[in-house]
């Protein structure tokens, strides 16, 4: 009995697969090599979404801690929430065209990052000591608004990928895979720099605090190598290292949860310790960027000259 049903299902599956094959061949005649590009675009939507989520939670907590002293401090919350929403939309959207609202939100998010960096630089420079360690540690964090800039850039990039109609995807005239790899690598380096600064503030009191200043820079280096050439080859090391970096983002949140517990009162006193302890939502930025890096790798592997 069971065997008979299994056999029937098997036959049906084989038939469906054959039909899909036909469909895919037909589509590829109309839109040569489109699926991998859309797939990469959707991956970028996902990466951008994770970054947005990190920014939403992080700026929410930190700007709450700063009592929203300046009304502009609400901006990253609004923009990252919008960016998160359109990223969810984009991740689910397999149509090959850019979406005007998504595009606009991503561009605005990127702009928020630029303007935010300006605000943060102003905040630091007006304090006595100017660009001193004290102000880099405790003034508005100079690197933080870069996260929403990156989120926006990845989103804009995703939309350009969808727009692309060439055999080998390009964005702004540059080969998409390699440019994206370079951008993601730079983002990873910047984020590692910020983790390095803040972990230096914490005197690297726990050896695991060295992880985000060692693993992501290696990933950045590997992505840089991918951007510099050698495209299309299977770069298993880069892939696995990016996966490790993505994992680090989640593990980091766990470490930070432990860090919160080491403050006076621990988690029972969460209303203070979450604000004073290490930022819970910061490490997942690495996950978002690593996923973008994986999307870049995907592009490079699908298009030898991307």
């Amino acid at each position: 009995m069971r065997t008979a049903i299994d056999k029937t299902m098997q036959n049906q599956l084989v038939a469906i697969a054959a039909q899909l094959d036909v469909l895919e061949k037909g589509l590829s005649q109309h839109f040569p090599r489109r699926e991998p590009t859309v797939r990469a675009a959707r991956r970028l939507n996902g990466a951008s979404g994770i970054l947005s989520m990190s920014v939403l939670a992080d700026s929410g907590i930190e700007h709450y801690r700063g009592s929203f002293e300046n009304k502009a401090m609400f901006t990253p919350l609004v923009m990252s929430a919008l960016s998160l929403a359109v990223s969810a939309h984009g991740t689910a959207d397999s149509r090959p065209d850019a979406h005007r609202i998504r595009d606009a939100v991503y561009a605005a998010a990127a702009l928020t990052g630029v303007v935010g960096t300006g605000f943060h630089v102003y905040n630091v420079l007006k304090r006595p000591g100017r660009l001193s360690w004290q102000n880099l540690f405790y003034g508005a964090p100079l690197g933080a608004p870069m996260a929403i800039l990156l989120s926006g850039l990845l989103g804009v990039y995703s939309e350009r990928l969808r727009d692309d109609r060439g055999a080998s995807p390009t964005v702004f005239g540059l080969p998409a895979g390699r440019t994206l790899a370079a951008l993601t690598g730079a983002g990873l380096l910047g984020t590692a720099g910020e983790a390095g600064l803040l972990h230096f503030r914490g005197a690297y009191h726990n050896p695991f605090m060295y992880a985000p200043v060692t693993i992501p820079p290696v990933a950045a280096g590997l992505l840089g190598a991918a951007a510099a050439g050698f495209s299309g080859r299977t770069r298993w090391l880069t892939r696995w290292w990016l996966r490790l970096t993505a994992l680090l983002g989640f593990a980091g949140a766990g470490f930070h949860a432990y860090g919160v517990s080491r403050n006076m009162g621990g988690w029972r006193n969460w209303r203070q310790t979450v604000l004073n302890g290490p930022p819970l939502p910061a490490p997942p930025s690495f996950t978002g960027l690593a996923l973008a890096g994986l999307a870049a790798l995907g592009l490079l592997e699908d298009h030898t000259d991307a």
Partner: protein, 547 residues
């Protein structure tokens, strides 16, 4: 039995309080009184607590006694200035001279851990030249210690306490990076920084003995601000939560509520132990060596109270210098009102500092001073308004309304040694029946010149940041040093460079009393560095069979 640490001892029967766990205990060695321990130490503060740890870790048997209670900071410390006066040594003393010292809160402690339990955590190194101030700067007395050696011990203490300090220190020769990063500056510290920038002098974050990151079972500082009334979170790296637990783990015994009244000396001129009062009676602990570490008042008092027919002027006093050359530090302040809220009580009280006038010799007086941002707690502030300005009633109430806008700068200034500033014994007796200390203190012309310079300069610094209604608080002192100075000549000093008394070779003095000069920085780091060095020296001397 009461659990009031002021009434009955906690460290006994083979255990001592675990300061990191409410209600917790740690095992502690218990020594017999009738068998001589290698070292009995009188006092468990920056000097005695540190030395107890170093000696126990070197393998010596150590009993360290303190007249004060063994507090559990997590449970015993309230956010209440009145309650926390229990940390101070407020036994009877007589103060006189032209500028009588006010004894209590900012110059003495009575607790296991000594005054480090309520110190402001400011952990500064001496300027190297101060170790030879007579030769190089023309005042005071030379130390028998080389600054480079002290520099190494400073680094060890900074590491042991995980001092949180600036990445680079602007004054003096290079020093290793502080183990922990500096704390965030509060508005009072930012005001100091702005003032310094306006006056064209350097400033930096104050190196502090309070954690800026977790350490073991101690939490990072929560900026509660009650530092000088006892830290209830253990972020403060006092002797109570650093050296003492280490000492006990290495086999030392701590005896709390144990007031030593006399050091016993035999006919051969050797110390044989100490008489101490605990649990209602006088007891005797035999010891091969006695270390007196009771700070600049109680140390000479104990030495003078231990006089015998062989040593009629008190122990270790052939130079006649025991009790002399008492040095407080000037602690004058300039205060003003800021347009913006300052809320200076948030966080540690002295988060920013300038040592400019410690390192600049272009001035018309000897010695130097540092000045720091301030964060007086409300009761202290009301007291200051009353005692320094005579405010009372409505005027005091009105002034206190402006508490959140108060901004101030306060010096730690070097006072010069004078033999006439001294500790002697009075006729009156304390609750143990022991003659109390008479403390005689007068400022010198140089002391006044330094104070005048500092008040003028700080007033200009406050004016430069638009503080209004600036006034000076010109009568305050802090810290106590001298009274058993170290030196290279038995005729002009009480102890040698190893803190060993010239007269009684198994009697040691290890606290701020041994300072020949005080410098313009808080003394606790130097006391601990000296204690670490003394520990190493005793270990070396023992290896040579020279104890």
């Amino acid at each position: 039995m009461s659990d009031d640490p002021l009434l009955s001892p906690r460290a006994k029967a083979g255990r001592a309080p675990d300061v990191f766990a409410p209600g917790g205990w740690i095992p502690m060695h218990a020594y017999r009184e009738d068998e001589a321990v290698d070292f009995v130490i009188v006092g468990t503060g920056a000097g005695g607590g540190t030395l107890a740890c170093k000696l126990a870790e070197a393998g010596f048997s150590v009993v360290a006694m303190d007249a004060g209670p063994y507090f559990r900071p997590l449970e015993d410390f309230a956010s209440d200035e009145s309650e926390q006066t229990k940390l101070y040594w407020t036994d009877d003393r007589i103060v006189d001279g032209e500028n009588p010292l006010q004894m209590g809160s900012n110059n003495s402690g009575k607790a296991v851990g000594g005054s480090t339990v309520h110190f402001a955590m400011v952990s500064l190194r001496f300027r190297p030249e101060w170790f030879r101030s007579r030769t190089l700067l023309g005042y005071g007395a030379d130390w028998p210690l080389d600054w480079r050696e002290m520099w190494r011990y400073y680094a060890k203490v900074e590491q042991a306490l995980k001092i949180a300090g600036p990445v680079t220190y602007p004054w003096g020769p290079p020093r290793p990076r502080y183990p922990y990063r500096a704390h965030e500056m509060n508005a009072a510290a930012l005001a100091l920084a702005r003032g310094c920038e306006a006056m064209g002098i350097g400033w930096t974050e104050t190196p502090l003995a309070t954690l800026s990151a977790p350490r073991g079972r101690a939490h990072p500082c929560v900026y509660r601000g009650f530092c000088t009334t006892g830290c209830s979170t253990n972020a403060k790296q006092s002797a109570l939560v650093t050296w003492i637990p280490r000492a006990i783990a290495a086999g030392a015994e701590i005896r709390d509520l144990a007031m030593v009244g006399r050091v016993e000396v035999n006919d051969a001129g050797r110390a044989t132990g100490v008489h101490y009062h605990r649990e209602g009676g006088w007891r005797f602990q035999k010891a091969r060596n006695v270390v007196v570490a009771g700070y600049a008042i109680e140390t000479p008092r104990l030495l003078l109270n231990s006089a015998t027919s062989r040593f009629p002027d008190g122990l270790a006093n052939s130079s006649g210098l025991v009790g002399k050359n008492l040095m407080a530090q000037s602690n004058q302040a300039v205060w003003g009102i800021s347009k913006d809220e300052i809320r200076s009580y948030k966080g540690p009280p002295s988060l920013a500092i300038t040592e400019h006038w410690n390192y600049d010799d272009n001035k018309d007086f000897f010695g130097g001073y540092s000045y720091m941002s301030q964060g007086p707690l409300p009761q202290l502030w009301a007291n200051t308004q009353m005692s320094a300005r005579g405010l009372w009633g409505d005027s005091l109430m009105a002034e206190m309304e402006r508490y959140n806008h108060v901004v101030g700068l306060k010096i730690v200034g070097e006072m010069l040694p004078q033999e006439s500033n001294r500790v002697t014994l009075a006729d009156a007796k304390d609750q143990y029946g022991l003659p109390i200390a008479r403390i005689t203190y007068s400022w010198s012309e140089n002391d006044r010149a330094l104070i005048d310079h500092s008040l003028r300069f700080m007033a200009r610094a406050l004016e430069a940041i638009d503080a209004r209604e600036i006034w000076t608080q010109d009568d305050d002192t802090c810290h106590l040093n001298g009274t058993a100075r170290m030196g290279g000549d038995p005729r002009t000093s009480v102890v040698d460079a190893d803190c060993r008394s010239w007269d009684i070779r198994n009697l040691w003095i290890c606290d701020g009393s041994v300072f020949p000069t005080v410098g313009g920085v808080n003394p606790s780091l130097t006391i601990q560095a000296i204690a670490c060095r003394t520990g190493d020296r005793i270990k070396a001397l023992a290896a040579l069979g020279d104890l």
